[in-house]
């Protein structure tokens, strides 16, 4: 939900400095004389921060809410608590059990709800949280009920409080580093894509549902880790430490610090653990302090949606040195549309009815390999519905769709991308918080990309080549939200090209472009077909269609009214009538006669 505030420390130097800093912090925690009070505060802050970083993953990176973070924290804590006491197991084994339980339960909970979206997820996680509290309190033979679990053991060698704290700090540093690097992994990019634009993510080839479940499970896992460490740190746990109220505390910490980065998680956690200690008097009135948390949540969401780190990071980014200019991007290689046995696209008897409305009524057409095929028709003729059927956003009422000879009729959008369908959107759908390069890398990562990209370097090289092809290589590392409308369109095309599609669907690429941009678009389309790409274009701009299309299919009232060679189709009286209007008005008959097709309408 918040833009990622800062770049990953790519350079080795940064990573080493970070490691040295973490080690120093751990050594200081182990060596400095700490009071018991200070030790407790630091222990709590460190273990909580691990759990809050879990929210950075699920809420910050993937945009999914989880209001049961304290429950997963509790699962980790009880695994260590009960394991080292009642069951007499080794600390590390218990910690592993807790992590496994959090991961599995998180994944299962996510799997049950993540298809349905936000509201359901929020309520189901709250419910899960309440159930866990009920179980912890009432299942006394196992959980020991409200009395809690005392006497929790630490691992051998870390029995000393400060040494254990030093270990927790190292664990936190490792987790923060992993999550800091995560946005630039394949999974991390997929999560950001899902957060920014679920629909586009699916069409580009990201398995949206699977990505969300993974994010949710990883978030739960980190909560379990934080909880396990917490149990070892305090030696005593009880159900009231893992209630819904604590989940809200975790959420507030994440939001306050900035949900987009683990740095924000650490800042938010530290602030909200230290502040109440400084304002201890508030704890004398029960409720006051949580009431302020609630108020803080509302105020942060309204006035500072990116949190402290998001706010600070955006300002720091201005002073950061520009990244070194990359080497010249290579030439974009597209697999040629070989004259295979199958057409690139085959549509047979395709129909979509909404109630009684036949938006698409049994249409047939085929797109041959190579060249530009245009699908046109007056407003409301069923073009957009057809496009949504092709990319899997609608389920057809009847008919089949074959791409490259494979029947994709029942496949979800990301699976169609894997078969080789690329598309752009009329109202541009980019991943708005990401750079142009990252947008295009997500496209290059489409499953079964024939370009066969083995490693991160090849992936980036291909993305840069695709950006160079549309003329944006110099702006590759800029956030795409700062691009002009015309350039955003080009990034969207580059994103699709990077995936090397068998068929590229362009949904009104000329919409909103000015005259010179349209000329540039025409040239770009020609360069794309020169590389052997097959394009299906939908546009109202008949000048563009005339200029680029080899073949045209015309729809009206959901039916196909013409199909074939472009010049011939545009001369058909039915097509001219569909565009200029039927000669139907009685009062207008005289005028209409004056408007019969003219010779100058024929293509030059």
């Amino acid at each position: 939900m918040a833009p990622r505030a800062s770049a990953v420390p790519h350079r080795l130097g940064g990573t080493l400095a970070y490691a040295a800093f973490a080690l120093l912090a751990a050594v200081l925690a182990g060596a400095l004389p700490l009071s018991g009070y200070a030790l407790n505060i630091l222990m709590q802050a460190t273990t909580y921060a691990v759990s809050v970083i879990g929210l950075t993953v699920v809420l910050g990176l993937c945009g999914q809410i989880n209001l049961a973070q304290a429950a997963f924290f509790g699962i980790g804590a009880y695994a260590v608590g009960l394991g080292t006491t009642a069951w007499g197991l080794d600390f590390w084994l218990c910690l592993g059990l807790g992590l496994g339980a959090a991961l599995v339960l998180g994944g299962a909970l996510g799997a049950s709800t993540l298809r349905l979206g936000g509201h359901y997820l929020a309520m189901v996680t709250i419910s899960f949280q309440q159930i866990l509290t009920l179980v912890l309190v009432n299942w006394i033979p196992v959980t020991r009920g409200p009395d809690g679990v005392p006497g929790i053991l630490r691992p051998a060698g870390l029995a000393d409080g400060q040494r254990y704290l030093a270990f927790c700090i190292l664990a936190l540093a490792a987790v923060a580093y992993a999550v800091w690097r995560m946005p630039d992994t394949r999974l991390g990019r997929a999560m950001r894509a899902v957060r920014d634009n679920e629909l586009a993510a699916g069409v580009v080839g990201v398995d949206v549902y699977r990505t969300k479940i993974l994010a949710f499970a990883i978030g739960a896992l980190l909560a379990g880790l934080g909880g396990g460490l917490f149990a070892g740190g305090f030696a005593y746990i009880s159900p009231d430490q893992f209630t819904f109220a604590e989940s809200v505390v975790f959420l507030t910490m994440a939001l306050l610090g900035g949900v987009g980065s683990p740095a924000g998680a650490v800042i938010g956690t530290a602030l909200l653990i230290l502040l109440p200690e400084w304002l201890r008097f508030m704890k004398e009135i029960p409720g006051l302090y949580l009431a302020l948390y609630g108020l803080a949540v509302i105020l942060i969401i309204i006035f500072m949606p990116v949190g402290i780190w998001g706010f600070v990071g955006a300002r720091l980014a201005r002073f950061r040195k520009a990244a070194p200019a990359p080497d010249r991007a290579g030439d974009l290689v597209l697999a040629r549309a070989a004259p295979g046995p199958h057409p690139a696209l085959e549509v047979v008897g395709l129909a979509k009815h909404f109630g009684g409305l036949k938006a698409v009524d049994a249409i047939d057409f085929a797109v041959a390999r190579g060249g530009v095929h245009a699908l046109i028709g007056p407003n409301g003729s069923g073009k957009t519905t057809t496009l949504n059927l092709l990319s899997g956003l609608y389920v057809p009422t009847a008919g089949r769709i074959r791409i490259d000879g494979r029947d994709v009729t029942g496949l979800p959008p990301h699976a169609r991308a894997a078969v080789g369908l690329g598309r752009t959107f009329q109202n541009i759908r980019l991943f708005r918080s990401m750079t142009a390069l990252d947008n295009v890398i997500v496209g290059a990562e489409r499953p079964d990309n024939p370009a066969g990209l083995a490693d991160a370097g090849a992936l980036e090289a291909r993305a840069r080549a695709a950006l160079a092809f549309v003329g944006l290589e110099d702006r590759a590392d800029e956030p795409v939200a700062s691009f002009s409308y015309g350039h955003q369109r080009l990034v969207e095309i580059a994103r699709a090209l990077a995936g090397n599609p068998v068929l590229l669907l362009l949904d009104e690429p000329a919409a909103g472009l000015n005259a010179s941009e349209k000329v540039a678009l025409t040239a770009l389309l020609r360069r794309m077909t020169a590389k052997g790409l097959t394009i299906l274009i939908i546009d109202h701009d008949m000048t563009l269609v005339r200029d680029v299309a080899d073949r045209i299919t015309v729809l009206n009232f959901g039916r196909r009214i013409a199909d074939g060679d472009a010049a011939a189709v545009l001369r058909e009286p039915d097509v001219i009538a569909a565009y200029l209007g039927e000669d139907a008005g009685q009062g207008g008959a005289g005028r209409a006669e004056a408007a019969s097709p003219r010779p100058d309408l024929a293509p030059v």
Binding site: L357, G380, G585, A595, D600
Partner: protein, 246 residues
């Protein structure tokens, strides 16, 4: 004084300049049509007039007074009714209820009065008289357009804005819709009409304007516009090709 006057109107969506420096007038009692291909900025112009989008620059005057900065509710109360593209009939309300809500801009009417007026509307729209109690989502495209028109008229507007009333309708239905527009005009309501169906639009209009890429390309009487080759080019493309050839 013109009933409606646009002066140098410019509207942007973010960076996209949908309308650039558009000036036009609509005199009382006229039917004026605004033509142009999809994406030319026609709907945006209507939305700016009715307050749904905020212009970037320019002036909109209705009866000599500015409409700039007014909310849609205020603008319809001042007598400008907008029948938007896609009809936007409330799917969960009946045709009669939809029509009755058209009077929401007029105060001091009892429910009974409004209902009586709505029933009187069915005389102008005999085709939907039988469907008064049918829910919006069950109606066909032509019926929806009739309901949307009737709902717009219930506002007793001095200016009626119509956005593509022929959209997606079969020719025989389009004829019926345009007969009603002619009747509305005969009863004294000024109409500002957007059409992609240029033939139909010009058949009822006194004057027409043609938009291309957000700018005014042509204006004049229907006869003059038809006599100009550019109107075909604006719809079917080729303007660049034509100018290049010439």
């Amino acid at each position: 004084m013109a009933l409606l006057e646009l002066r140098d109107l410019s509207v942007s969506y973010g960076e996209v300049r949908a309308v650039e420096g558009l000036s036009l007038t609509v005199e009382p009692g006229e039917v004026v049509t605004l033509l142009g291909s999809n994406g030319a900025g026609k709907s945006t112009t209507l939305k700016a007039i009715s307050g749904l989008v905020r212009p970037r620059a320019g002036q909109i005057l209705f009866e000599g007074r500015s409409l700039m900065g007014c909310r849609p509710e205020e603008i319809v109360r001042r007598g400008v009714a907008h029948v938007p593209e896609g009809r936007r009939v409330f799917p969960g309300l009946t045709a009669r209820e939809n029509i009755m809500l058209g009077a929401s801009n007029r105060s001091g009417l009892s429910k009974r009065q409004i209902r009586a007026e709505a029933d009187a509307m069915f005389e102008l729209f005999p085709d939907i008289a039988r469907f008064g109690d049918a829910l919006g989502w069950t109606l066909s495209g032509g019926q929806l357009q009739m309901v949307a028109l009737a709902r717009g008229l219930m506002a007793k507007p001095r200016l009626l804005l119509l956005d593509e009333p022929s959209l997606g309708l079969a020719p025989v239905i389009v004829q019926a819709v345009f007969r009603i527009i002619a009747e509305v005009r005969r009863r004294g309501t000024t109409v500002f009409l957007i059409e992609q169906n240029a033939r139909m639009g010009l058949s009822v209009a006194d004057r027409g304007y043609v938009l291309e890429s957000g700018r005014l390309a042509l204006s004049g009487t229907p006869e003059a516009l038809w006599a100009n080759d550019d109107i075909s080019a604006a719809y079917l493309g080729g303007s660049r090709a034509v100018s290049a050839a010439g």
